[in-house]
Symmetry: C2
Subunit: 204 residues, 2 copies
DNA sequence: TGTACATCAGTGAACGCGCGTTCACTGATGTAC
DNA sequence: TGTACATCAGTGAACGCGCGTTCACTGATGTAC
């Protein structure tokens, strides 16, 4: 098992999934340029040579890893039930914002929002990666708008504002490091009227 | 003048200033890891070998370049006059926010807010750089709070919220690239109540 | 004020290192018969 | 159902290349006398 041998189709698919999952976390944790192909493969339990059996380039991996991350964090906003009446309720919005604006999110970059993790690197990561960010963000904004539902007169605008505020808060919190300022910036945004409204949104 | 020779104290100081200024722009434009010492020196009109007569390491340059950038953008918020009465007026706040939330700012990363330009890279750039970001952000928040003046019941919290919103908007706008979504995220934040208030702040 | 010399900013070549990528090889998988 | 063989996921060494950093050298500066 440890030595070199061909894998079954199932094992191959498993390897690919493991590479993407590992990359998704490592890129968020240490930045797109701070993680090498060999780092990803080593963490996934393989050697770097086999990487190109799965992806044509590092950029292709970054593209897929970021798409995966956007989908992972956005899935928590999906409607999970309806109230049995005529319309669905936006489930989980308050929990989403609660978790987003937390010290835990600041610390655990590897499991958090990809925009907050590597947003300022995205413009330098190539066209494919840029497209992945555009699509991931669009989808996330749609999910947020849906979750905001009738709580706002213009849900999409409210979603865009909310996402911008959340992303900026976490990026600043991480950039200034542990300390009073970090706590303050999180607390201040938690007290924002629009954020307060989202935190009090109906949750199933 | 072109060939190798010792420079006067004045010329040496001029070279150092040029290196920091050049680095400040290049790092913002292409990211901290996307710019090498040789790039900076070449753009500043020198060869890379002489770099270490001015700085002990690349990190030291990043540290100073970011401090320079924070000070440059924050200086526009300084009080520039008073109304001749008992208190100073917050000058330039509306112009600051107006320029911040513009396509021009999105495009001209090299002259814009350093937090928006490289914020998500800061946590991986070393302790000195982190300290520079913490100090630069604190100073910028203070300037924003002062500029907000009596417009908000808690100026510091309002400043923290405003900065977070501005930073997040520009990072998202750049990450998604040119297009409808980019225009929308800027327009949405321009319509935010707190932003509208800042845009209408007294301007001298 | 003039002269001799130590300093040191800047040059250009070189260093080691890590990165993305390539490649010959292995041997279980999975297919053709 | 059984057998022979082509495929290809994964290994481990190797490749260029660019990066941060070092170094011997140059010659005008600026100081000591």
């Amino acid at each position: 098992m440890g030595s070199t041998m061909r894998r079954s189709k199932q094992a191959t698919a498993e390897s690919r999934r493991m590479i993407v999952e590992t990359a998704s976390r490592l890129f968020r944790a240490r930045g797109l340029e701070g993680v090498g192909v060999a780092d990803v493969m080593r963490t996934a339990g393989m050697t770097h040579g086999g990487f190109y059996r799965h992806f044509p380039s590092k950029e292709a991996l970054v593209t897929e890893a970021m798409a995966h991350a956007f989908n992972e964090v956005g899935a928590r906003l999906e409607l999970e039930s309806n109230d049995g009446g005529t319309h669905n309720l936006p489930v989980k919005l308050s929990a989403y914002v609660e978790d987003y604006l937390s010290v835990k999110h600041v610390v655990h970059t590897e499991l958090g929002c990809p925009m907050a993790a590597v947003g300022s690197e995205a413009p330098h990561a190539g066209l494919e990666v840029g497209a992945s960010f555009a699509q991931g963000t669009e989808r996330l904004v749609q999910r947020l708008a849906t979750a905001l539902g009738n709580a706002a007169p213009t849900p999409r605008d409210a979603a865009l504002r909310l996402l911008s505020s959340l992303v900026g808060t976490i990026i600043i919190a991480r950039a200034v490091g542990e300390g009073t300022l970090q706590d303050e910036v999180i607390a201040a945004m938690r007290a924002d009227p629009a954020v307060v409204q989202a935190l009090n949104a109906p949750s199933a």
